[in-house]
Protein backbone atom coordinates (compact mmCIF):
# COMPACT_ATOMS: atom_id res chain seq x y z
CA UNK A 1 0.00 0.00 0.00
CA UNK A 2 1.18 3.52 -0.73
CA UNK A 3 2.33 5.55 2.26
CA UNK A 4 1.50 9.24 2.17
CA UNK A 5 3.04 11.86 4.46
CA UNK A 6 0.84 14.60 5.93
CA UNK A 7 2.59 17.06 3.64
CA UNK A 8 1.82 14.95 0.56
CA UNK A 9 -1.85 14.54 1.48
CA UNK A 10 -2.27 18.24 2.20
CA UNK A 11 -0.43 19.22 -1.00
CA UNK A 12 -2.61 17.05 -3.24
CA UNK A 13 -5.87 18.20 -1.61
CA UNK A 14 -4.72 21.81 -1.86
CA UNK A 15 -3.72 21.65 -5.53
CA UNK A 16 -6.97 20.01 -6.63
CA UNK A 17 -9.28 22.09 -4.45
CA UNK A 18 -7.99 25.23 -6.16
CA UNK A 19 -7.74 23.79 -9.66
CA UNK A 20 -9.63 25.19 -12.64
CA UNK A 21 -10.50 21.79 -14.12
CA UNK A 22 -11.70 23.09 -17.48
CA UNK A 23 -8.65 25.23 -18.10
CA UNK A 24 -6.02 22.86 -16.76
CA UNK A 25 -7.60 19.80 -18.41
CA UNK A 26 -7.87 21.59 -21.76
CA UNK A 27 -4.30 22.88 -21.61
CA UNK A 28 -2.78 19.60 -20.48
CA UNK A 29 -4.48 17.53 -23.16
CA UNK A 30 -3.68 20.14 -25.84
CA UNK A 31 -0.06 20.16 -24.80
CA UNK A 32 0.07 16.35 -24.90
CA UNK A 33 -1.37 16.24 -28.44
CA UNK A 34 1.09 18.93 -29.62
CA UNK A 35 4.26 17.83 -27.83
CA UNK A 36 3.69 14.09 -28.43
CA UNK A 37 1.73 14.06 -31.71
CA UNK A 38 1.53 10.27 -31.85
CA UNK A 39 -0.98 10.48 -28.99
CA UNK A 40 -3.43 11.83 -31.59
CA UNK A 41 -3.93 8.23 -32.68
CA UNK A 42 -6.58 7.84 -29.97
CA UNK A 43 -8.63 10.80 -31.16
CA UNK A 44 -9.36 9.98 -34.80
CA UNK A 45 -12.95 11.16 -34.42
CA UNK A 46 -12.07 14.56 -32.92
CA UNK A 47 -11.86 16.28 -36.30
CA UNK A 48 -9.25 18.98 -36.91
CA UNK A 49 -5.98 18.31 -35.07
CA UNK A 50 -3.72 19.54 -37.89
CA UNK A 51 -1.71 22.09 -35.93
CA UNK A 52 -1.33 23.55 -32.44
CA UNK A 53 -3.90 26.30 -33.05
CA UNK A 54 -6.46 23.80 -34.35
CA UNK A 55 -5.91 21.52 -31.37
CA UNK A 56 -6.18 24.42 -28.90
CA UNK A 57 -9.43 25.61 -30.52
CA UNK A 58 -10.98 22.15 -30.83
CA UNK A 59 -14.04 21.92 -28.51
CA UNK A 60 -13.84 18.11 -28.34
CA UNK A 61 -10.28 18.36 -26.99
CA UNK A 62 -11.41 20.91 -24.39
CA UNK A 63 -14.32 18.74 -23.29
CA UNK A 64 -12.20 15.62 -23.08
CA UNK A 65 -9.50 17.40 -21.10
CA UNK A 66 -12.11 18.16 -18.45
CA UNK A 67 -13.28 14.52 -18.42
CA UNK A 68 -9.71 13.28 -17.85
CA UNK A 69 -9.03 15.78 -15.06
CA UNK A 70 -12.24 14.87 -13.25
CA UNK A 71 -11.12 11.25 -13.57
CA UNK A 72 -8.28 12.21 -11.23
CA UNK A 73 -10.85 13.28 -8.61
CA UNK A 74 -11.42 9.64 -7.71
CA UNK A 75 -7.78 9.33 -6.69
CA UNK A 76 -7.80 12.64 -4.80
CA UNK A 77 -10.81 11.43 -2.76
CA UNK A 78 -9.45 7.89 -2.22
CA UNK A 79 -5.73 8.36 -1.75
CA UNK A 80 -5.44 5.27 0.44
CA UNK A 81 -7.09 2.99 -2.08
CA UNK A 82 -6.17 4.25 -5.54
CA UNK A 83 -5.44 0.79 -6.92
CA UNK A 84 -8.93 -0.59 -6.27
CA UNK A 85 -10.60 2.72 -7.19
CA UNK A 86 -9.12 2.57 -10.70
CA UNK A 87 -9.68 -1.13 -11.45
CA UNK A 88 -12.64 -0.42 -13.74
CA UNK A 89 -10.96 2.51 -15.50
CA UNK A 90 -7.88 0.36 -16.01
CA UNK A 91 -9.95 -2.31 -17.74
CA UNK A 92 -11.61 0.40 -19.84
CA UNK A 93 -8.29 1.87 -21.02
CA UNK A 94 -6.90 -1.58 -21.78
CA UNK A 95 -9.79 -3.53 -23.27
CA UNK A 96 -11.94 -0.86 -24.84
CA UNK A 97 -9.71 2.15 -25.54
CA UNK A 98 -6.51 0.14 -26.19
CA UNK A 99 -4.29 2.92 -24.88
CA UNK A 100 -0.56 2.18 -24.63
CA UNK A 101 0.17 2.83 -20.91
CA UNK A 102 3.26 4.87 -21.81
CA UNK A 103 0.79 7.56 -22.84
CA UNK A 104 -0.31 7.99 -19.21
CA UNK A 105 3.23 9.11 -18.39
CA UNK A 106 3.26 11.54 -21.32
CA UNK A 107 -0.01 13.14 -20.23
CA UNK A 108 1.17 13.21 -16.60
CA UNK A 109 4.32 15.11 -17.64
CA UNK A 110 2.21 17.66 -19.55
CA UNK A 111 -0.13 18.02 -16.56
CA UNK A 112 2.86 18.63 -14.28
CA UNK A 113 4.11 21.37 -16.59
CA UNK A 114 0.69 23.07 -16.82
CA UNK A 115 0.20 22.99 -13.03
CA UNK A 116 3.77 24.27 -12.56
CA UNK A 117 3.04 27.25 -14.81
CA UNK A 118 -0.17 28.00 -12.86
CA UNK A 119 1.36 27.76 -9.40
CA UNK A 120 4.64 29.47 -10.28
CA UNK A 121 6.96 29.73 -7.30
CA UNK A 122 4.35 27.89 -5.24
CA UNK A 123 5.27 24.74 -7.16
CA UNK A 124 8.32 24.10 -4.99
CA UNK A 125 10.53 21.01 -5.41
CA UNK A 126 8.68 19.33 -2.50
CA UNK A 127 5.27 20.14 -4.00
CA UNK A 128 6.51 18.83 -7.37
CA UNK A 129 7.68 15.60 -5.71
CA UNK A 130 4.28 15.08 -4.05
CA UNK A 131 2.39 15.83 -7.26
CA UNK A 132 4.55 13.53 -9.39
CA UNK A 133 4.29 10.75 -6.77
CA UNK A 134 0.50 11.09 -6.84
CA UNK A 135 0.42 10.86 -10.64
CA UNK A 136 2.81 7.87 -10.60
CA UNK A 137 0.44 6.01 -8.24
CA UNK A 138 -2.52 6.81 -10.50
CA UNK A 139 -0.58 5.61 -13.55
CA UNK A 140 0.37 2.39 -11.78
CA UNK A 141 -3.28 1.76 -10.89
CA UNK A 142 -4.45 2.51 -14.45
CA UNK A 143 -1.88 0.07 -15.80
CA UNK A 144 -2.70 -2.67 -13.27
CA UNK A 145 -5.40 -4.47 -15.24
CA UNK A 146 -3.48 -4.65 -18.52
CA UNK A 147 -2.61 -8.17 -19.57
Amino acid sequence: MVEWTEFERATIQDIFSKMDYESVGHNALTRCLVVYPWTQRYFGNFGNLYNAAAIMGNPLVAAHGTVVLHGLDKAVKNMDNIKATYAELSVLHSEKLHVDPDNFRLLADCLTIVVAARLGSGFTPDVQAAFQKFLAVVISALTKQYH
Binding site: V34, M56, I113, V114, A116, A117, P125, Q128, A129
Partner: protein, 143 residues
Protein backbone atom coordinates in the same frame (compact mmCIF):
# COMPACT_ATOMS: atom_id res chain seq x y z
CA UNK B 1 12.72 13.22 -34.70
CA UNK B 2 15.29 15.72 -35.96
CA UNK B 3 14.97 19.47 -35.52
CA UNK B 4 13.18 21.33 -38.30
CA UNK B 5 14.26 24.82 -39.40
CA UNK B 6 11.19 26.17 -37.59
CA UNK B 7 12.15 24.28 -34.40
CA UNK B 8 15.64 25.82 -34.53
CA UNK B 9 14.25 29.36 -34.95
CA UNK B 10 11.85 28.82 -32.05
CA UNK B 11 14.66 27.50 -29.86
CA UNK B 12 17.05 30.35 -30.65
CA UNK B 13 14.38 33.01 -30.01
CA UNK B 14 13.28 31.42 -26.77
CA UNK B 15 16.88 30.90 -25.66
CA UNK B 16 17.49 34.65 -25.98
CA UNK B 17 14.91 35.10 -23.20
CA UNK B 18 16.27 32.19 -21.14
CA UNK B 19 19.96 33.15 -21.28
CA UNK B 20 19.83 36.07 -18.82
CA UNK B 21 18.28 33.77 -16.18
CA UNK B 22 20.35 30.72 -17.06
CA UNK B 23 22.04 30.30 -13.68
CA UNK B 24 18.77 30.59 -11.74
CA UNK B 25 17.06 28.16 -14.09
CA UNK B 26 19.90 25.63 -13.99
CA UNK B 27 20.01 25.78 -10.19
CA UNK B 28 16.25 25.29 -9.86
CA UNK B 29 16.18 22.40 -12.37
CA UNK B 30 19.04 20.61 -10.63
CA UNK B 31 17.48 21.23 -7.18
CA UNK B 32 14.19 19.75 -8.35
CA UNK B 33 15.92 16.74 -9.90
CA UNK B 34 17.68 15.91 -6.64
CA UNK B 35 14.44 16.21 -4.63
CA UNK B 36 11.95 14.61 -7.02
CA UNK B 37 14.29 11.85 -8.28
CA UNK B 38 16.43 11.03 -5.23
CA UNK B 39 18.31 8.30 -7.11
CA UNK B 40 20.13 11.09 -9.00
CA UNK B 41 21.84 12.08 -5.74
CA UNK B 42 24.10 9.04 -6.18
CA UNK B 43 26.17 11.07 -8.65
CA UNK B 44 26.91 13.78 -6.12
CA UNK B 45 28.03 11.90 -3.02
CA UNK B 46 31.13 14.13 -3.05
CA UNK B 47 29.09 17.30 -2.38
CA UNK B 48 28.71 18.59 1.14
CA UNK B 49 25.23 19.99 0.61
CA UNK B 50 22.61 18.61 -1.79
CA UNK B 51 19.74 20.81 -0.62
CA UNK B 52 17.87 23.03 -3.11
CA UNK B 53 19.84 26.15 -3.98
CA UNK B 54 22.98 25.12 -2.06
CA UNK B 55 26.39 26.40 -3.21
CA UNK B 56 27.47 23.20 -5.06
CA UNK B 57 24.01 22.93 -6.66
CA UNK B 58 24.18 26.55 -7.78
CA UNK B 59 27.68 26.15 -9.22
CA UNK B 60 26.75 22.97 -11.06
CA UNK B 61 23.47 24.42 -12.35
CA UNK B 62 25.55 27.15 -13.97
CA UNK B 63 27.89 24.57 -15.51
CA UNK B 64 25.03 22.55 -16.93
CA UNK B 65 23.35 25.61 -18.43
CA UNK B 66 26.53 26.76 -20.14
CA UNK B 67 26.60 23.31 -21.72
CA UNK B 68 23.04 23.85 -22.96
CA UNK B 69 24.02 27.30 -24.26
CA UNK B 70 26.88 25.70 -26.17
CA UNK B 71 24.41 23.21 -27.63
CA UNK B 72 22.18 26.08 -28.82
CA UNK B 73 25.17 27.67 -30.58
CA UNK B 74 25.99 24.35 -32.24
CA UNK B 75 22.39 23.42 -32.99
CA UNK B 76 23.13 22.64 -36.64
CA UNK B 77 25.53 19.83 -35.75
CA UNK B 78 25.10 18.68 -32.18
CA UNK B 79 26.92 15.37 -32.59
CA UNK B 80 30.18 16.99 -33.62
CA UNK B 81 29.64 20.16 -31.62
CA UNK B 82 29.25 18.27 -28.33
CA UNK B 83 31.95 15.67 -28.93
CA UNK B 84 34.14 16.77 -26.02
CA UNK B 85 31.18 16.86 -23.65
CA UNK B 86 30.16 13.44 -24.84
CA UNK B 87 33.60 12.05 -24.08
CA UNK B 88 33.45 13.64 -20.64
CA UNK B 89 30.08 12.04 -19.86
CA UNK B 90 31.02 8.68 -21.40
CA UNK B 91 34.47 8.08 -20.00
CA UNK B 92 34.70 10.16 -16.84
CA UNK B 93 31.27 10.96 -15.47
CA UNK B 94 29.58 7.80 -16.76
CA UNK B 95 26.13 9.18 -16.07
CA UNK B 96 23.44 6.64 -17.02
CA UNK B 97 21.81 8.23 -20.08
CA UNK B 98 18.35 7.66 -18.57
CA UNK B 99 19.16 10.60 -16.34
CA UNK B 100 19.36 13.01 -19.27
CA UNK B 101 15.61 12.57 -19.69
CA UNK B 102 15.07 13.26 -16.00
CA UNK B 103 17.08 16.50 -16.03
CA UNK B 104 15.40 17.56 -19.29
CA UNK B 105 11.97 17.12 -17.71
CA UNK B 106 12.96 19.27 -14.75
CA UNK B 107 14.36 21.95 -17.08
CA UNK B 108 11.01 22.05 -18.87
CA UNK B 109 9.15 22.38 -15.54
CA UNK B 110 11.34 25.35 -14.56
CA UNK B 111 10.89 26.96 -17.99
CA UNK B 112 7.11 26.61 -17.58
CA UNK B 113 7.31 28.33 -14.18
CA UNK B 114 9.66 31.12 -15.36
CA UNK B 115 7.90 31.79 -18.68
CA UNK B 116 4.21 30.99 -18.15
CA UNK B 117 3.17 32.95 -21.24
CA UNK B 118 6.13 32.28 -23.55
CA UNK B 119 6.39 28.55 -22.89
CA UNK B 120 3.56 27.74 -25.32
CA UNK B 121 2.89 24.19 -26.60
CA UNK B 122 4.94 25.05 -29.74
CA UNK B 123 7.91 26.23 -27.70
CA UNK B 124 7.49 23.22 -25.41
CA UNK B 125 7.68 20.70 -28.26
CA UNK B 126 10.70 22.45 -29.81
CA UNK B 127 12.57 22.52 -26.47
CA UNK B 128 11.64 18.89 -25.73
CA UNK B 129 12.99 17.81 -29.14
CA UNK B 130 16.10 19.94 -28.63
CA UNK B 131 16.89 18.52 -25.20
CA UNK B 132 16.35 14.98 -26.55
CA UNK B 133 18.77 15.77 -29.39
CA UNK B 134 21.31 17.12 -26.89
CA UNK B 135 20.94 13.96 -24.78
CA UNK B 136 21.52 11.86 -27.87
CA UNK B 137 24.66 13.83 -28.79
CA UNK B 138 25.92 13.47 -25.20
CA UNK B 139 25.40 9.69 -25.37
CA UNK B 140 27.31 9.45 -28.67
CA UNK B 141 30.60 8.20 -27.19
CA UNK B 142 29.12 5.82 -24.60
CA UNK B 143 29.54 2.62 -26.62
Amino acid sequence: MSLTAKNKDTIKSFWAKVAPRAEEIGTDALSRMLVVYPQTKTYFSHWKDLSPGSAPVRKHGKTVMSGVAEAVSKIDDLTNGLLTLSELHAFQLRVDPANFKILSHNLLVVLAIQFPDDFTPEVHVAMDKFLSAVALALSEKYR
